[in-house]
């Protein structure tokens, strides 16, 4: 079994070479580390490109940025709306409407490196997890948080939110969040596959909402080339999003339109046939040839 896990992506590596088979992963890590570097360069080196943390910040002491999820919580907590905060949240929302909602999860959020690490280690060691959580937990949590904010009049989730807490402590000095992060790592590795990001984190669920409308999307443009190796389903953090695009009817769009897709590009990396590309959502459906209808029958 362990050898089978190592087989994942072998074809792609052989066909495309190591670098091209890891292109999006490397770009993502570069993006995530750059975001951290931008935030800590101020306190560490005195280069204040960005001041604040990922909840809210000021770029070059002028442009405000505000995490849209935190902003929504302040709205539910009935706080008076401040212009700066509103502008910051608007900029961020527009950015994710273009770049893809959960692009936040795969390209910005530092927790992703931890959960990705747990997942790849879990896969390599072939650990079977026992806890099967429903992905809809995220929506329930999101609803509970907003209701809770409304009832208590305070940002209750921000008292415990491991995502913002870790981001904050990266910038302002480590407190206790490494312990929470370690728990998430252990949870994802031994107890629940893709447990945190895929099944619990309400912040990711929130960012999937603009993701439903976002411009930048993964496109199974050459789906007729698919050889059914199923490796994209294995590496994808949200495998349920692939099928409608990859195996949809000829008249349906090959673009992954689900808000849950994180635009992480792991499917692009792992595919030896280059089925997937990153494109925009308005790709016209490919009217496929006869073979696609045959494939649907065989499914």
């Amino acid at each position: 079994m362990a050898t089978k896990a190592l087989q994942i992506g072998k074809d792609a590596r052989q066909q495309k070479g190591w670098l091209r088979a890891h292109k999006w992963l490397l770009l993502r890590r570069l993006s995530q580390l750059s975001v951290i570097a931008l935030f800590v360069s101020g306190p560490l080196l005195g280069a204040w490109l960005i001041k604040g943390d990922m909840s809210s910040s000021r770029v070059l002491d002028t442009i405000p940025l505000t995490d849209a999820f935190v902003f929504l919580q302040t709205l539910f907590a009935m706080a008076p709306v401040e212009q700066t905060l509103l502008i910051g949240a608007a900029i961020v929302t527009v950015f994710y409407l273009i770049a893809g909602g959960r692009t936040y999860c795969a390209w910005v959020c530092p927790i992703n490196m931890v959960t990705d690490g747990a997942e790849s280690l879990r896969r390599k060691l072939n650990i079977k997890t026992r806890i099967n959580l429903s992905r809809s937990n995220r929506s329930i949590l999101l609803g509970a948080i907003l209701l809770g904010s409304l009832f208590t009049g305070t940002l209750i989730y921000e008292l415990v939110n491991p995502v913002t807490m870790f981001q904050r402590e990266l910038v302002f000095g480590m407190g206790f969040s490494w312990a929470i992060l370690f728990s998430i790592f252990i949870f994802d590795m031994f107890f629940s596959k893709r447990g945190w990001c895929g099944h619990l984190c309400p912040m990711g669920k929130f960012y999937s909402l603009p993701g439903k409308l976002s411009l930048l999307r993964v496109n199974a443009s050459k789906r007729d080339q698919c050889n059914d190796c199923m490796e994209c389903y294995v590496v994808c953090p949200e495998p349920q999003v692939i099928k409608p695009a990859l195996k949809g009817a000829a008249s349906e769009t090959p673009v992954i339109l689900s808000g849950d897709c994180t635009n992480c590009g792991q499917c692009i990396d792992v595919c030896a046939k280059d089925v997937f590309t990153l494109s925009h959502r308005f790709t016209t459906p490919i009217t496929e040839k006869l073979e696609s209808s045959q494939r649907e029958v065989s499914l």
């Binding site: 101020g42 000021r58 505000t66 302040t74 905060l85």
Partner: protein, 288 residues
């Protein structure tokens, strides 16, 4: 297999079950989070919010997005963000007066930095800020109450003479000295914490506390008779009575001020006598 009616019923059951489960989970999460938020609802006595924070800490917490921009722009490193191990709501800014007090910058950079309005942008004069209220909490330890001269809190106070004033009273222990007692006035105290920081004792006798903890309040219906009388220009209940005393001749009783004193007519006509009413006056006169 199953009739459409049975199938319908099954679907309905499934729907109800999933709805109940969802609602239950939602209620559970919401309750759990609300319970979690309870300790963070009241500020610990030694934690003070930056200038411009709402008096009700819950209002502050509903607006603060925990970005730390106020902390970054504080030139004296007074402010810091709470972590999970602090008693203050995680991520929110606070300071402890005994460690580093607020220096009351005139341009209030922390308020300017705040993007959320949690620190009220309408606050432009730092003297109007109310971060807390100083309380001379331990009168047994404060050395002023022992009759010793200190007045460090009075002298360090940035709203000097207004927020803390000195009141003299009789030193009963020695019988001949004064106690010089610092008094805090909530009309002026900003709660910057410089007095607590400067207190010479090992544990400060004057402490700055969140206002809702430090401030008492008479009931709204409560009226002070003498103030009402002044407003009305006359006594509101019974007519004022001229007090009658059996006084020695040539002496009157000024019952609204000085008490027993010589009747005006009987005061000495000239100042030739070396023995004036007050020994102090004689001293101040100097030698001729």
């Amino acid at each position: 297999m199953s009739t459409p009616a049975q199938k319908n019923q099954q679907q309905r059951r499934q729907f109800l079950e999933s709805m109940t489960r969802g609602a239950g989970a939602l209620a559970l999460f919401a309750t759990g989070l609300s319970v979690l938020s309870r300790p963070a609802r009241s500020l610990p006595a030694q934690a003070l919010r930056p200038p411009g924070a709402a008096a009700d800490d819950l209002d502050f917490q509903s607006a603060c997005v925990r970005c730390g921009l106020c902390v970054r722009d504080c030139p004296y490193d007074t402010l810091r963000l709470a972590t999970w191990v602090d008693d203050v709501a995680a991520g929110t800014p606070f300071f402890e007066a005994r460690k580093i007090p607020c220096e009351m910058c005139e341009d209030i950079p922390c308020v300017k930095a705040c993007p959320s309005g949690a620190l009220d942008p309408a606050l432009t004069n730092i003297d109007d800020s109310r971060m807390g209220l100083a309380v001379l909490i331990d009168q047994e330890a404060c050395i002023a109450f022992q009759g010793l001269r200190c007045e460090v809190c009075f002298n360090i106070c940035p709203v000097q003479g207004k927020a803390i004033s000195l009141k003299r009273s009789h030193n009963v222990r020695t019988g001949k000295h004064a106690l010089i007692i610092p008094e805090v006035h909530s009309d002026y105290c900003t709660g910057c914490g410089k007095c607590e920081h400067a207190c010479i004792l090992q544990e400060a006798a004057i402490k700055v506390m969140p206002i809702q903890l430090a401030k008492g309040e008479a009931g709204k219906h409560y009226r002070l008779g003498w103030e009402e009388k002044q407003k009305a220009g006359a006594s509101l209940v019974t007519p004022d009575q001229q007090h009658q005393y059996n006084l020695p001749e040539g002496v009157i009783y000024d019952y609204e001020g000085e008490g027993l004193k010589p009747a005006p007519a009987l005061q000495p006509a000239n100042d030739d006598t070396p023995f004036k009413q007050s020994a102090l006056d004689r001293l101040n006169q100097g030698f001729k």
